[in-house]
Every structure is written in C-alpha cells, then in structure tokens.
C-alpha cells in the first residue's frame, strides 16, 4: 500500500493523536459517561488504521508491530481473566469486585468503582490490538492476491 497525498498525510498525522487520546479518554471514564473499553478500543484501533491508510502499513507496523499487537491481544484478555480470578482470592468468589469492596471511592469519581476501570482498560487493549491486526492481515493478503501468480503471503510472525 503506497499511502495517500501530502495533505491527507499531514492531516492524518495530527488527527491520529487526537483520535488516540479520545479513545483513551472514553476508556478510562467508561463507568462515568457513555463509552467504555470496547468503544475506546475500536477508536484506538481506528487511529492506527488511519495511519495505515494514509502512510501505508510500514509506518503503522513500525509504531505497533504485529507481534506486539498479538501479544497485547492476549495480555488484555489475560488481565481481564486474572482480575476476575483474583475475586476468588480477595472477595471469595469469581468476579467479585474486590477492588471496590476494599477501596470504595466516592461516587462520580474516576476511582469510584474498583475493578470496572481495570476491566475497561483490559478490554481496550484487547480490542484495539486485535482489530488492528485483523485490518493489517486483510490488507496484507489483498496485495498478494492482486499480484497474481504464485501465492506467498509475507506475514510478520510466520512460523518456521
């Protein structure tokens, strides 16, 4: 993918930062305002996809290598599961909101609801990373198909 014109690139570079920050904001305040980890994750993935579209996937992959993204995908899911499992240790039961029961913050606070922001951040990591991967993988395949002839897909993390 070659990318687009200078105007698009310049705008994309600035807009990307804002989209990324907006995604973070939506994630962190997910329990107070509309939004949440999932929406935030999609928005963060969109910021990387914007770079992919404007500059080509090389730059995007330099900013977030595929292997790192795949790692984040698993790590996000694991954080979610582990925090839920800690509920058994600290709260006596699976999925107990042990953080909130230990440290009840005041209402309408960023830290007011214990494990919920943690879950949101974990989901955001997972969703952002995995959707970015999907997009890149689909675009990788497209190029190779168009070349027609022997099929060889160059993936960042191929075995052997």
């Amino acid at each position: 993918m070659k990318g687009m014109t200078v105007i698009v690139r310049t705008i994309a570079r600035w807009v990307k930062v804002f989209i990324f920050l907006y995604g973070c904001l939506i994630t962190i305040t997910g329990h107070l305002t509309p939004g949440g980890g999932f929406a935030g994750g999609v928005i963060i993935a969109a910021s990387f996809i914007l770079i992919t579209l404007a500059y080509g996937k090389e730059l995007a992959l330099r900013q977030l290598p595929l292997r790192a993204a795949a790692g984040l995908d698993s790590v996000g899911a694991l954080i979610f599961l582990v925090v839920a499992l800690f509920g058994i240790g600290f709260g006596g039961i699976f999925f107990a909101n042990w953080i909130q029961r230990r440290f009840p913050g005041g209402s309408f606070h960023l830290l007011s609801s214990g494990a919920i922001p943690v879950y949101n951040i974990a989901i955001c990591l997972k969703v952002g990373a995995s959707l970015f991967i999907t997009f890149v993988i689909m675009s990788v395949l497209r190029i190779v198909v168009q070349k027609d002839g022997s099929f060889r897909m160059v993936q960042d993390e191929e075995e052997e």
């Binding site: 329990h31 999932f38 609801s113 494990a115």
Partner: protein, 183 residues
C-alpha cells in the same frame, strides 16, 4: 410520540437500504447500503436513549465497512452468473413471508412501544440495577455497571468471542497451512 415517529421513519429508511443492499447488482453499493443500515441503527440508539450503544455501533460500523470494502475493492466481484433456481428461491421467499406474517401477528402481544417490561414487572432485575448500581458498583453509568460488574462474566465471554474470531481470522489467512512433505 415524537420518538416513535422518528424511529418509524428511520426504520423505513433502514428497510429501504437493506432492500437495496440485498438486491443491487453492484457489490460496492451493497456494502455502502449496509453501512447506511448500520448508521440508521446507530441513530435509532440515540433516540431510544442508548448513547453507549450509539458510540459502539458507529465505531464498529466504520470498522466493518473498512473490512467489507477491503474484501470487495479491486476484485472481479460484480459477476455472478449462477442461474437462479426458481423452486428454491420461491420456497425461501414463501418461508420468509410465512414467518414474517406470523411474527408480525405475534409481536402484537408485546406491550405497546414505550412501556417496557420493567414497568410491569416491579421485581425485574433491571429495576434493581437502576436503583442500586451507583451504590453497589460505584458506576453512575448503569450500563457500564451491568456489563462489567453485575454481568461481568458475559463481558469476559464477549472478549473471548472477539479473541476467538481474531485468532480464527489469523489462522484462516495464514500463509502456509500445511507443511511440505519431507519426502
């Protein structure tokens, strides 16, 4: 009353878009029409006081459109020569029409639009969520309280679904699926 009319208008718009998506010859127009349906759903979520859903729907919609466009652009896709097999098609249409007719009849036994089941069933869990979410979970956004605390296990399942589908997409799109024979 205003909400109901707005939603009706939106639904008609979505039905038209869905029909175009189903029947148009150009695959790209079909994909764009699907996008129109998705945006319609997102706006309808705003009308029924579901801002969380509207945000998620619109962002998912954009992403899905990107995926769809990726899969259509630059391919020889318009050409579908398969002969239409009338018996199968007629059967499918009759089946759909039958279910539709019964469904429309059956849906009349729901309470009218705008009076949800939680108004009738006082002990329904939703009323408890609305009453106690702030105190019990600390989340003023009741929907966030439900998906991440009361029903957090569902959300774990949801994250797992996404994990499985991404892993599956990666597995399906991987370069070489089988090792070369040693011989």
């Amino acid at each position: 009353m205003g909400t109901e009319i707005s939603i009706l208008v939106l639904l008609v718009f979505m039905i038209v878009a869905a029909l175009i998506a189903a029947e148009t010859r150009s695959l790209l127009s079909s994909v764009i029409s699907l996008g129109a349906v998705g945006v319609g759903v997102s706006i309808a979520f705003l009308f029924v006081a579901a801002p969380d859903l509207a945000i998620v729907q619109v962002s998912v919609e954009v992403l899905l459109l990107l995926f769809f466009v990726r899969s259509t652009i630059g391919r020889e896709v318009e050409h579908v020569k398969g002969r239409i097999r009338w018996p199968g098609l007629l059967l499918a249409i009759l089946l759909c029409a039958g279910v539709l007719a019964f469904g429309v009849y059956a849906l009349r036994s729901l309470p009218p639009f705008g009076s949800p089941v939680i108004s009738a069933v006082k002990e329904a869990p939703s009323n408890l969520y609305l009453e106690k979410s702030l105190k019990e979970t600390g989340a003023p956004n009741v929907v966030a309280g439900i998906i991440l605390d009361y029903r957090g296990y569902d959300t774990l399942g949801e994250a797992t679904v996404l994990f499985a589908s991404i892993l599956g997409a990666l597995a399906i799109l991987r370069g070489r699926a089988k090792r070369r024979k040693e011989k």
